[in-house]
Amino acid sequence: MNARFRRSHEPLFWLLFGAGGLLAALVLPALVLFTGVIVPVARGPGGEGLLDYTRVLGLLAWPGARVALAGSIALLAWHAAHRILHLCHDLGVHAGRGLKWSCYGSAALVSLLACGLVILLPSP
């Protein structure tokens, strides 16, 4: 009965998808709330904002924060790539090799870029 079944590599992608999904469920609403509502509303008396260049660099001075930012971007990308791939399939777009490579390829690219960029971040 075993001959008919080949082991799937889906677990790898599923774990990344799951991690991204969990992250999104835990903090994404709050994060969007911050960038989309709190930032525009909460201007200081001198017009200084929560997203001022130096302040943001300051926040990211802590290496842990950098890792978290890059990690978050990467995981969200993997989450999205995985679901979009399946969504295409669900909608009748045949999920051949090409589609698979482009979805997961983009996610990998985003991850690489995110990692590279946080390393290049100037210190405040």
Binding site: I38, L87, L117, L120
Partner: protein
Amino acid sequence: MTPLPTWQRGMRGWWRRDPAFRRYLLREATSVAIGAYALMLLAGLGCLVAGPAAWQRWEGLILSPVGLLLQAVVFAAAVIHAVSWFRLMPLTIPPLGRPGRRLADGAIHAGAWAASALCSLGLLGWLVYGA
């Protein structure tokens, strides 16, 4: 034996059959918004590296009407995502606790939402009052 003659119906437009399918597709489609947001963050990171001018352009972009609209969509998607994710969570994790005293779904839901609240508050606190 001759193969049985049968009629195979296709799957075209299957989501029209049941509202549950459309809810499912909506849930899956949240990933598009989430992906877009990830790209937005990535772009911001790039601008941050490129220097203050680039950063300011990025900030202007996300605070522009278009940027805000996009974020409104992302926010809605994130909420739908979180609600469905936590609702389905008990189905995906192995049974917790000992035989006969398994953790109930309700406890898992409550735990998940509590964790979400905690993380969100922590994150917001750091973003607003940090540094």
